[in-house]
């Protein structure tokens, strides 16, 4: 294939993709706002709970309380979802360079004074965050002989291990006392750096049984972050088969590659209903469905049931028993505080064992996310 052909193929992508990209927001500003909100929320104290990092990964089963001042020098490392909260005194005294999958943090003034600028690791280096392409416990990391420099074990997740390696060689001019003092002071402060894991929902394999056949399918955590007083939510999505989109203040999960004009609708809709309890919400929605039944739209509307295993209310609506008759399952989850998540699974009867089962596997991972749940910090 040549690049012109590829460009033509890109030209034929899904219209929805083209339309979505028509007007793009200022993502950097959005991120900054999110970060400020998070830091303000955890300004007083942050109670960290037990967290696990998916299949084959480690568990940080420690409960720690840390204090994070609202205004801090922070450094976000893209791609590895880590934020470093640096000592305030580092302001203007450090730079970061990405070196492959790794990040090198150095003092630019010292680097400029002692190096020829050709090599990234040849002066002023304070530490490097190295990403190893394998999930290792700290013991395995040592067994593999990778502890060749002083280090700080950060985490293992998604078949990768992140280690903070301290600089090993002399990175300053020993004849320059001022340089040495600055460097040594910064080195001594490295242990005070807080490292925050931004992604609480790393990918994981979930057992799904479409058409009765069990398969392990990788699901990716999709998070709607808490906003103002309202909590957010997280749900694992099989992104090989489904895409997510926000429309009219609802969050939808729909199959990839299905004709959007098809009358055979398959989708999951997550709607936040604030200021209404789950019982009231369930009754109100069911009343609407019953009105639809009287008008001939629905064949049956079940009573509201309480699922105590997952703690949710639900009822089922059916258009009939023909292969293409519409089915809707309405679920109601309590929000933290006053409010309800109303989740609807829509599919047609013949898709019950396919999309229906896959929707259920995703739905079972649904969880409310509060500001206290995120971010997480790795203990020193």
């Amino acid at each position: 294939m040549n690049k012109k052909q590829l460009s033509e193929h890109i030209g034929n992508i899904d219209d929805r993709l083209v339309q979505q990209a028509e007007n793009i927001p200022n993502y950097a500003a959005q991120r900054r706002q999110r970060r400020i909100r998070q830091l303000l929320t955890i300004a007083a104290a942050l109670l960290l709970m037990v967290s696990s990092f998916g299949a084959g990964a480690m568990v940080f089963a420690r409960e720690v309380i840390i204090e994070v001042p609202a205004e801090q020098e922070t450094l976000e490392l893209e791609g590895i979802d880590l934020t470093l909260i640096l000592p305030d005194s580092w302001k203007g005294q450090y730079s970061v360079e990405k070196n492959g999958a790794n990040y090198v943090v150095y003092n630019p003034q010292i680097k400029e004074a002692v190096s020829d600028g050709m090599e990234i690791l040849d002066g002023g280096v304070l530490f490097t965050i190295v990403c190893y392409e394998e999930a290792m416990t700290e013991e395995q990391f040592i067994e593999n002989g990778l502890d060749f420099t002083p280090y700080r074990y950060l985490l293992a997740a998604n078949n990768k291990t992140y280690i903070l390696h301290y600089a090993s060689d002399v990175q300053y001019d020993p004849a320059n006392q001022e340089q040495e003092d600055t460097y040594q002071k910064m080195m001594s402060e490295i242990e005070d750096i807080q490292i925050v894991v931004n992604n609480l929902f790393p990918p994981k394999d979930i057992a799904v049984a479409p058409e009765g056949l069990v398969e392990e399918v990788e699901h990716i955590g999709q998070v709607k972050e808490p906003e103002n007083e309202a909590p957010g939510f997280a749900i694992y999505v099989d992104t090989e088969r489904y895409y997510t989109v926000e429309e009219n203040e609802s969050f939808y999960i729909r199959p990839i590659g299905v004709d959007e004009n098809s009358e055979l609708i398959c989708e999951m809709e997550i709607q936040e209903m604030t200021d209404i309890s789950w019982e009231e919400a369930a009754q109100a929605i069911r009343k609407q469905m019953c009105a639809g039944q009287e008008a001939g739209k629905w064949d049956s509307v079940s009573a509201i049931s309480h699922d105590t295993e997952i703690e949710r209310l639900y009822f089922h609506v059916s258009e009939g028993t023909a292969w293409d008759s519409a089915q809707e399952e309405h679920y109601f989850y309590q929000m933290d505080g006053e409010g309800t998540y109303h989740i609807v699974l829509r599919y047609f009867l013949e898709a019950t064992e396919g999309n229906g089962m896959r929707f259920h596997a995703m739905l079972d991972t649904f969880t409310s996310v509060t500001a206290q749940d995120t971010p997480q910090t790795i203990p020193n």
Partner: protein
């Protein structure tokens, strides 16, 4: 009938100013079906800015852009009685893109917008560059693979990719819209090109 007005800004592709409203897309399509020339006026009013933006990203000459946009309206005029596009803006802009790229093929290098030249060059990372005639089935498979690849990216990355390789926006313009630094956008695009190449290969597509 009418949609809520967009506020005019530099980043907006639409033509109207504060307070004006647009005719609904379905109504415009209906006008095309009724063969009313008003359809072209409404298209121009609502999507002229978007078409010009795309044409300008590909062609550097003002005259070429203008002709391309006018050709787009006529192409839409000819196409619509047979079609009823669901997403009219994407439909119109795709025609503008295709026409601008056709023109790009036969004009001199000086008349090509460097943004499109670099954008196409970058796509070279994803393919071997060999000429290979693709069957319709192969084309469909490739396009489905690209669709899936894009849907699986985060919204941020997906939109940046599309702005660069569909709309041919310059890196500078993407940075202005997203607030990201040039190095960040470049590294995101680089990473996505590598991933796309791997995905095409893993799908058995001859790259």
């Amino acid at each position: 009938m009418v949609e809520k007005p967009y506020l005019y800004s530099e980043s907006s592709f639409h033509n109207n100013t504060v307070g004006e409203t647009y005719v609904d897309d379905n109504r415009i399509i209906e006008l095309y079906w009724q063969r009313k020339e008003e359809a072209i006026q409404e298209t121009s009013l609502k999507y002229g800015g978007l078409c010009t933006h795309i044409a300008k990203n590909i062609l550097s000459s003002h005259e070429d852009c203008e002709e391309c946009v006018n050709d787009t309206y006529f192409a839409v005029w000819n196409a619509i009685p047979n079609e009823r596009p669901n997403r009219f803006s994407a439909f119109v802009s795709r025609i503008a893109r295709n026409l601008a790229l056709k023109r790009y093929e036969y004009i001199s290098a000086a008349k090509r917008n460097p943004s499109a030249v670099y954008s196409l060059e970058e796509l070279g990372d994803c393919v071997s560059g060999t000429d290979h005639v693709e069957s319709e089935i192969e084309k469909r498979h490739i396009e489905t693979t690209i669709d899936k690849f894009l849907w699986q990216l985060s919204e941020e990355k997906r939109n940046i990719f599309i702005r660069r390789y569909w709309y041919f926006d310059s890196i500078k313009s993407i940075c202005e819209s997203t607030g990201f630094t040039q190095s960040k956008v470049k590294s995101m695009l680089f990473e996505m090109r590598q991933k796309l190449r791997k995905r095409l290969e893993s799908e058995g597509i001859e790259i």
